[in-house]
């Protein structure tokens, strides 16, 4: 595989807060991470920790009730947050960075033939003529393993796995550098899941694309991960390469999370995390995991900084101060 170690994405202190009746929801609250070309990073975290909001912040797909949207995002060295919405729409979204949204397979347009849906982003965002776009859609269908006969079908005529392939094809037609996949397989059966991961692995090689894979499914996330980022209550609390992370996670939350993953074989006890995450409206001032942490100590009343462990590994926990 061609190794290209130049940095593709750099995210600094990214914030996306929403206004709600009960207060400000700090869904993405100072996120930092970095991704190389042709690399896949998995963002792991439990329901409601802000994963989808992070994807929306990266793609600037913002709802109306945004209270704060700030930070720095560099894509291939270019700063994105300074772009106007118009510039962002023309130059970035779909063109260089695309997304397979959560539940995409159920969100395909029911009255458009799926071939036309795949052709559409090319016509709109790359100004390609319809015939040419349809030809490319046909090519993309074969690459994601959907028979060309299906170009003329409607979404309801396809199985869940086929619809998900169509959604993946849509995200790839403009040949972006980066694709964000939000829970691409959580509604699918194991065999279909395995098929989709085979496909994503092949696409990663073939298109030299980078992936951000958002999921709460730790076991299957390892099918694609070069790197792993763990999200808790709006923040990234650990990032590391897949090898080190899956064999020995550092953050106490990540350790507990790994211990809760059922294994097919072996007989280690499963653990669970007592209590629930803090409300994103009313966050504690210290470490956000402290209330549930088995290893907390006095220092944890203060917000821990991000400690650099070397080897592109970072962890936001006082245990690693002066490691």
């Amino acid at each position: 595989m061609a190794e290209n170690n130049s940095s593709l994405l750099d995210v600094h202190d990214l914030k996306l807060h929403f206004r709600a009746s009960a207060g400000i929801v700090q869904a993405v609250d100072g996120v930092n991470f970095q991704l190389n070309r042709n690399e896949a990073v998995v963002v792991l975290g439990e329901s409601g920790c802000g994963k989808t909001s992070l994807a929306k912040a990266l793609l600037r797909l913002l709802p109306r009730n945004v209270a704060e949207y700030s930070g720095e995002v560099y894509l291939g060295g270019e700063e994105l947050m300074g772009l106007t919405d118009e510039e962002y729409r023309k130059q970035i979204r779909w063109v260089r960075m695309s997304m397979v949204p959560q539940a995409a397979m159920n969100a395909l347009n029911p009255v458009l033939r799926v071939g036309d849906q795949v052709a559409e982003p090319m016509m709109i965002h790359a100004g390609i003529k319809k015939e040419e776009a349809l030809a490319q859609a046909r090519d993309m269908f074969s690459r994601v393993g959907v028979s060309a006969d299906f170009l003329h079908r409607y979404a309801f005529e396809l199985s869940g796995g086929m619809r998900q392939r169509v959604a993946i094809a849509m995200s790839l037609v403009t040949l972006p550098d980066l694709v964000v996949l939000d829970e691409p397989t959580s509604a699918l059966d194991v065999l279909t899941q395995a098929n989709i991961f085979n496909l994503l692995k092949r696409i990663k090689k073939e298109f030299e694309v980078s992936f951000i894979l958002i999921t709460h499914d730790i076991a299957t996330s390892s099918e694609l991960a070069d790197r792993v980022a763990v999200m808790y209550a709006g923040q990234i609390v650990e990032v590391g390469d897949a090898e080190s992370f899956f064999s020995a996670p550092l953050h106490p939350y990540a350790q507990k999370l790994m211990a809760s993953v059922p294994r097919l074989r072996g007989d280690q006890e499963l653990e669970f995390i007592i209590g629930k995450p803090p409300s994103l409206i009313d966050l504690p001032t210290g470490c956000r995991f402290a209330a549930r942490c088995p290893r907390r100590f006095e220092k944890c009343d203060q917000d821990p900084p991000v400690f650099d462990m070397g080897n592109r590994r970072i962890v936001k926990c006082w245990l690693y101060e002066g490691n």
Partner: protein, 342 residues
Amino acid sequence: MAEILEKKLKDQDFSDTGALLQVKRLHVWFELRRFGFGHAGYVRAVDDVSFELKAGQAIAVVGESGCGKTSLMKTILGLNTPIKGDIIFDGMKLSELDRKGMMEYRSKIGFVQQDPYGALPPFMSIRSILDEPLIINGVKDPKERNERIRQVMEEVRLSPVDDFIEKFPHMLSGGQQQRVVIARAMILEPKLIVADEPVSMLDASVRVEILKLLENLQKSHNLAVIYITHDLSTVRYFSERIFVMYAGKVAEKAVVDEILNNPLHPYTEALLTATSEPDAANARIYKEVPPGEPPSLVNPPTGCNYHPRCPKIIEGLCDLEDPPEFEPVPNHLTLCWLHKDA
């Protein structure tokens, strides 16, 4: 078709085996109608399934979406009527029950539904949700009902009880809501609990909490449990036997370790291969997955229903003849021609 079935089912008599639940040659076929009338075939959701369950035993039914897991469970709960076959539970024969008998039958089986978020009525407090089955089943004394409600809430660890009892479902976390669903299933002190994907909608850490709760209840109450899931990796944490279901049939049944270490049916092998463990090495390999999708349940293929996808197919046999149940290893049964000489 009905005639063939008739013949097949002739040997259908129940002997007393001391089992709590006997499912015998169960066929649950849903009739398809064209424009509301006119027969257009059957959806064979459960197609000739037999098994037994003793008091206090836990089994897992594993299979992909649409293979008939929920249909099988609903039939055991008395919510679907089988087209053929029968069920005996705790001495009661399902096909012979009148209205009153049916009510008693249902009160002895607790049900934990597939979707915890849709399972609880949003405008009822936890107290009234748990009160309802007691009232329906004729527990008249409010004091007795109150005591039972508090007791069951303690058992599922919704405690301190006063913090939860007047709350509404939306005020609870996913894990707590699932505890309420389990409490409701337990409130009439059933002998059998049917749990349909009780944890698939929950986060990893909460999932473990609920599985452990179910395991504790099973042990402390000597409950029989049927645990339905599509996730093979969770089954060994609390069931003794696994049934692997494919397109309406039980393709393989054995104790957990046998299924995991010595799978006999090619479909079970495929499921095991496809199931991931968290391991960085996964990203470097492609998985071997059978092509295609499960067959139509309206027009199932001839012969073995897995033959169109099976890498080990014996041409001329698998595609023509329905495989019977073989027992190549004692107590390890499979519907697969590969084991015909065992």
